[in-house]
Symmetry: C2
Subunit: 141 residues, 2 copies
């Protein structure tokens, strides 16, 4: 029973607005509005959008109302791809926390903040393998 992150759910205020934002970045879903939740296939896992109050209740936690210590990243094949996604996110209504730039660890990354305040790092990491199918492989895994 090897452990997995099978699903990551982002709590959102307006499901239609968030779906449109993520679709503008290329995510695709067949979820229907009446489902009350949006599922995006992401390689071998799933990214979900769900009402934040429902997610808090389902998760057995109290909502602190801001960022809570979890940041996803989307890794891409080049610094230029980082820049392109940051600009796509800006055009879709994201706040840009930092534009693409070289990082202290030898890569290149930028960060956008989605309409609900969820940050995403967009990164190029030359030390990790990015497989043709978009999977990431650590150098020693």
């Amino acid at each position: 029973m090897e452990p997995r992150v099978s699903l990551v759910t982002l709590g959102v205020a307006d499901l239609a607005r968030s779906r449109a934002f993520y679709e503008a970045l290329g995510w695709r879903s067949t979820s229907r509005p009446e489902d009350g939740v949006v599922f995006f296939q992401s390689g071998g896992m799933v990214l979900a959008l769900w009402g934040r109050a429902e997610l808090a209740a389902d998760s057995g936690v109290t909502d602190a109302g801001g960022w809570g210590g979890v940041t996803p990243a989307w890794n891409v094949g080049s610094p230029a791809a980082v820049d392109a996604i940051i600009e796509m996110a800006r055009a879709a209504g994201a706040t840009i926390a930092r534009v693409g730039a070289a990082t202290a660890w030898g890569g290149y990354s930028g960060v956008f903040i989605d309409p609900d305040g969820h940050p995403w790092e967009i990164a190029h990491n030359p030390f990790w393998t990015l497989e043709p199918d978009g999977s990431i492989r650590l150098p020693d895994a």
Copy 2:
């Protein structure tokens, strides 16, 4: 440039404590203590542990100090596997927000809260395909 969740980073207060907790659940890492970060390979993506203050600064956000609208899930092949993982988490020091039980959507799940307050849903979803390699496939993806 198909979108991906390549990495999910959990901000933690004590890297060694959190690493031990996740290792007790079966995660494995070759990161060294002096790296200051822990990377776990998880199928085609990576789960990371990093100091919460560093993650907040890197993500360009203010830390609200509690849960912030993101919950990961680990999907498994049976209700019994859900129960087993909830008990592993309890033994490793997690708080159990809810033990395994049938859900309104027709599956079975429980939730544990890790030493830093991060909830994890452990779920069996009979409507999604769980591949032999641990990948999840939506019915229509």
